[in-house]
Symmetry: C2
Subunit: 189 residues, 2 copies
C-alpha cells in the first residue's frame, strides 16, 4: 500500500536491533485517517473469507483492527495482556515472547467473546517473528474458532514470521513489506 | 446518545462495587460500528473548539478516541502505561489512581507528540472519579498544551468526576450519563 510505505519511508526511524519506530503514526500517536485507509485495504483484501470476528492484541493492534472491523462490519476482540477484574476466572490464556518488550507476555481472551465455530481474521500492527500472531492463533484454536486470514500493517520479512505462519495455510497479507533495514535504509520488497 | 444508552441497558452488567462491565461492546470486544457512531457524535459536539489533537489513555480509550479523531480529521495520541523502548528517556509522566485496577498507574506521553500551543481534546471510555482524565490534563499542561474539551462514552455521575473537572472551565460531554446503578438497575440521567 503506497501511502503506508511512503509514510514509513518518511517518518519511520530505525533504532537498531531490528526495531523500526513508527510512533508518530501507528504506535503512540496514530494517524487516524491513514489507519482508516489501512482498514479499508484489509477489508478489501479479506472481503471474501467469511470472517465473523476480527482478533488482535492490545495495545498497538487495536487501531488497525478497529478500522478493519469497521469496514467489514464486524466486531473486534483484543486480547488483553493483564486480566481485568471484569473478566471471568476461566479464560483462554497463552504466552508469547515479545521482541520489543524483551520478555514473555500473556495474551488473554474471555470465552464470552470468542466462540466455537467463529471465523477469525487476525490483524496486528507488525508481523516480525510471528510470535504474537501465533499466540492469537492458539487462542482462537483453544476457543474452537477457525483462523481464516492474517493481516499486518508492516512486515519485516527478514524476521521469518511469514514462514512461521505458512503451516496454517491461510492468506497472510501485509500492507508494507520491508525486505531490509541494513545500513539505516528501509528497503521494501 | 440513545443508541449507546440502549446498548448499555441491554448488554451492560453491574458487577458490584460500582463496576459496570461493558466488555461485550467497549472494553474487550468492541462494536466497531457503534464506536464509529460515538466518534461521529463527539466530533459533532466538539467541532467548534479548534482542537489540534485528540488525547486518550491506553487501553480502552483508544477505540473511541480513534473514531473521534477520524471524524475530526486529527491525529490521536494515547498515553502509555509503560514506557516502550522506542520512547526517548525524557518524557511527560504522571500518576493516576485506577479504580478498576485497585492501584496507581503511570501515564506517559513523549514530548515528540504533544507540543506547546496545541489544543487538546481528551476522549476516554469512562468518566468516573475523573482521576485518569485529570492525569491526562496534567500531561497536556506539562507539555504547554491547552485542554479545550473532555468527552467520555459513559459517565457515572455519582462518582463525582464532573465536579472534579469543573475548575478546568472546559466543555465536558458524555454520551451516556448514569445517575444510579442501585439495586442492579441502570438509571440514566
Amino acid at each position: 500500500m503506497k501511502e503506508l510505505k511512503d509514510r514509513i519511508q518518511r517518518d519511520g526511524q530505525i533504532l537498531g536491533n531490528g526495531i523500526l519506530k513508527v510512533d508518530s503514526f501507528v504506535n503512540h500517536q496514530v494517524d487516524a485517517r491513514l489507519m482508516d485507509e489501512c482498514g479499508k485495504e484489509f477489508a478489501r483484501r479479506f472481503a471474501k473469507l467469511g470472517a465473523t470476528k476480527v482478533l488482535t492484541a492490545e495495545i498497538s493492534g487495536i487501531a488497525p483492527a478497529l478500522t478493519t472491523a469497521l469496514h467489514l462490519g464486524l466486531p473486534v476482540v483484543y486480547a488483553r495482556k493483564t486480566k481485568p477484574i471484569t473478566m471471568p476466572d476461566q479464560v483462554y490464556l497463552t504466552l508469547a515472547p515479545s521482541h520489543t518488550k524483551g520478555r514473555t507476555v500473556e495474551l488473554i481472551v474471555s470465552p464470552e467473546y470468542l466462540a466455537n465455530g467463529e471465523n477469525v481474521l487476525i490483524i496486528d500492527d507488525f508481523l516480525a517473528s510471528g510470535a504474537t500472531i501465533l499466540g492469537l492463533v492458539r487462542l482462537a484454536e483453544a476457543a474452537g474458532a477457525k483462523v481464516v486470514g492474517i493481516g499486518a500493517l508492516i512486515e519485516k520479512i527478514f524476521e521469518g514470521g511469514r514462514e512461521a505462519l505458512k503451516p496454517l495455510g491461510v492468506p497472510v497479507e501485509s500492507l508494507a513489506c520491508i525486505a531490509s533495514m541494513d545500513g539505516g535504509k528501509i528497503v521494501f520488497q
